[in-house]
Assembly symmetry: C2
Homo-oligomer: 129 residues x 2
């Protein structure tokens, strides 16, 4: 397929976005879920580092632009329906979450409580200054 055609395989939602799962390519840990629009995906491919669309800030978000914790892209995968991307990445600094944890899924449902199962690796104050 030409460049034009591979883009057509992607089904953007009504806001022009697609959910993107970021997974550590070495450990298999699911790091986070974020969103891309077409520009974000183009930037991700160009930089070979994850660039998302920040819905809260309504702008492109080069992950790690402040913290240095960029995500080096190892593989970009599309699901059967064409409506979800899986990004396999090398997580620089070993910290994907703004809370200073390795990954964002640090709350586990246990007897009707969310229990925190992942320690903070670095104080966010030391990450973001």
């Amino acid at each position: 397929m030409t460049e034009q055609n591979w883009r057509l395989a992607i089904k953007w939602n009504n806001d022009g976005l697609i959910p993107v799962i970021a997974q550590d390519s070495d450990t298999g840990t699911v790091l986070m879920m974020a969103w891309m629009n077409e520009d974000a995906l183009s930037e991700t491919i160009a930089k070979q580092e994850a660039v998302y669309w920040s819905r809260s800030r309504s702008r492109l978000w080069h992950k790690g632009e402040t913290s240095g914790h960029v995500q080096k892209v190892k593989d970009i995968l599309l699901d059967c329906d064409g409506d979800t991307l899986l990004l396999k990445v090398e997580q620089i600094g070993g910290i994907a979450c703004h809370t200073g944890r390795e990954n964002c899924f640090f709350r586990s449902l246990d007897a009707q409580e969310w229990k925190i199962n992942t320690p903070v690796k670095k104080d966010p104050k030391d990450i973001y200054g």
Copy 2:
């Protein structure tokens, strides 16, 4: 937290849904992404098997109800923002995708083409009859 409170930690989107990543609890393979509404999550917890909200069919979807390829729930995790769930599961039958593959992310972007990187394990005709 009481049952009431743990539910309040979840941020449903404007359609009352939350994206759910299903990951094989043994291998770490990301199997698929689907959606839950509050009823689907309640059913998932009650059955300890994944029950999603099918957006295309507008009904609860007990994954594997036709194929037998149910997903036994091992862990339910919530991300830092409360807007994505990660379900760690045992994938019965080893097939999560309706195409008969282990997982739905079988297309990999390679030189501006989607290349299929995962074989079909079982013909869908033999799964769904």
